[in-house]
Subunit: 343 residues, 2 copies
DNA sequence: AATATTTACGCAAGCGTTTGCGCTCTCCAT
DNA sequence: ATGGAGAGCGCAAACGCTTGCGTAAATATT
């Protein structure tokens, strides 16, 4: 493991000069700089980040915080994709991501009580997922560290956040149903109102339905699982049997709707059209394959990473919410076999 | 952010003594130690890990390496669960996990060319997943860092590895089919032979089938996706229509088998029994719900973490392969609705 | 030609720990 | 009383890097 000393000795300069040369700082002659870079190459120099952190008192790692519940639920976890994108964006700039999954009680407590944050002094914090309580988000942001939210947002303060184009996406899906499905009754299956994406998707549904002059029917569930999707669909079909289309707030609920429809003797898509949201891995394999709105999760992570890098570099872009584009993926659950379906 | 200095000043001793007291090292009087611990508590001291790393020249983070392909395939990724368990085990001992996903070309190259390993000098390496090439595993192990494999293993050298009880698990599932399904023809859908778990599960299948005096039928696919499961099942049912049961090497192939069976007019489980392996999140929601062998992925991660901690602590346990117990989860795809089914 | 400015570099302190070594003091065996 | 052992503690160096400051030389300014 070579050090600055070695390079300095080789070239015949001081370590200070080598440090400056390697970090693209002024105060080094062009020729000297070249020789230093060559020597660094020759000895395969990599900076010791622990030493650098100690000297600069800032690290090159960002905390990636999620709620442990995401795991226990056994659902299709989306944050690995977020993390993947994040890692892609960050490693290229020399940053590492360190995942920390917190329990509900830890998320109630104070930010400072999390050892990782005290001991490792991360350069930034990423908080992913809708189930991190708002006070915690605010506390993280107030800690002074660059903070970014993914698939979550706060109303009061304006913490930077990366979100899918929820409203347009859901509006798009609903409109697709309206166009194809002859102006029939379209119900919405939605989740808790403290989940930002749920709110926004509902807005999209409402915009589309009202533009078409239809009567909205909104069913709110406590969570957005297959089970609740199934149960709320049952309720919808019993309360309003004339319903011919269902917009589900996410794919899990949509798959639940599929199951409920089958159990109640409805043929999807013939008697009932269904759309989901997210395009999780299994959406393409449901029966029938699910028409849904694809959320580019990896891209969201990448974006979060880039925004963070910009902020750490000092550019004071106070953009509050950044959107990533969604895309309607037409499969079979909506009843229109188009050639240009998936992909 | 308090330092050793502060505590030392408060108590009236040297930093050296504080350091020794806080690290449970000898050379500190009982009374002094108490006062130091109290003071540390009072100022909410947390060691600066960068400084410690610099002084000890070893870090408190472990690299978690996976193959990027795992993501692109869009399959149900299993390693988030591994990582979850790993994190649980490691954080309690003050270690952090840093995930690094490598591309195929990086996995062909040398270990040293990975910046993370040169710059962060991890305390250990975890390599997860069957698709990391053997030479890379060997190189990692040869690097001198404590290394552990999860869901992979090498034949030549004996790198410590954590694996599911593949053979027993698959034997168990196959025997269940044999017992319930009156001694009929049972085919196996397996994956590539360089995937250790595939090999071992095949052994389990063979053991069960041969013990029952049946003729084995093994179909090998290039990968273990829904698509290949579907395709190989089609082949099996065409080549040997009398087949009444299929053991799939993993749940994805099993779900593919389900689809193929439906397309070919077979009723599962009436005309064809199917079992999977892994118990991924969606196994419970397939139609019919999949009977499968549960692999405790989170537990595997936990175990890997604990083994690593032991090795870093110096205990020279040269256990080569550690097994975690699997468990047969009986649902409906095998045709025996037992009361004591899942959970 | 004399002065002011800039450029290129070295010195050395400092970041917060750990740890080998040496010192003092107490205690016990001689 | 004297010696040695051991416990308890402090000193100071070391880990590898960054950075403010000082200085000499080179260049620009009048």
């Amino acid at each position: 493991m070579s050090t600055l000393r070695e390079i300095a000795d080789r070239v015949g300069v001081s370590v200070a000069t080598v440090s400056r040369a390697l970090n693209d700082k002024p105060g080094v002659g062009a020729d000297t700089r070249r020789r230093i870079l060559d020597a660094a190459q020759a000895v395969e120099y990599f900076p010791n980040l622990a030493a650098r952190s100690l000297a600069t008192s800032r690290t090159q790692s960002v905390l990636f915080i999620i709620h442990r519940r995401q795991f226990l639920a056994g659902e299709d976890p989306f944050y690995p994709y977020i993390m993947q994108g994040l890692e892609e964006a960050l490693t290229s700039e020399g940053y590492a991501v360190m995942p920390v999954t917190l329990s509900a009680s830890q998320l109630e407590g104070s930010l400072a009580s999390i050892p990782a944050i005290r001991q490792r002094r991360p350069a930034a914090i990423v908080l992913a997922g809708p189930d991190i309580p708002s006070p915690f988000l605010v506390a993280a942001s107030a800690s002074g560290l660059p903070t970014i939210l993914v698939d979550n947002a706060t109303r009061e303060t304006s913490i930077p956040a990366v979100l899918p184009g929820n409203e347009e996406g859901c509006k798009r899906a609903t409109m697709h149903l309206i166009e194809a499905h002859h102006q029939s009754d379209i119900a919405l299956l939605r989740g808790p109102s403290d989940w930002v994406s749920s709110e926004e998707r509902t807005d999209g549904y409402l915009a589309a339905v009202q533009a078409a002059g239809l009567e909205p029917l909104i069913m709110t569930a406590d969570d957005t699982t297959i089970e609740t999707g199934q149960e709320t669909t049952r309720q919808v079909l019993e309360a309003r049997p004339e319903t011919t289309a269902i917009v589900a707030i996410n794919d899990a609920m949509a798959i639940g709707a599929l199951r409920a429809a089958r159990k109640m003797g409805r043929d999807v898509p013939k008697n009932l059209a269904i759309t989901g949201f997210d395009d999780i891995a299994w959406a393409a394999y449901s029966d029938p394959p699910l028409t849904t709105v694809r959320v580019p999760t990896i891209e969201m992570g990448r974006l979060a990473g880039r925004l963070l890098i910009d902020r750490m570099a000092g550019s004071l872009t106070e953009i509050s919410r950044t959107r990533v584009d969604t895309r309607l993926i037409i499969r079979e659950s909506c009843g229109c076999h188009q050639e240009e379906s998936s992909e």
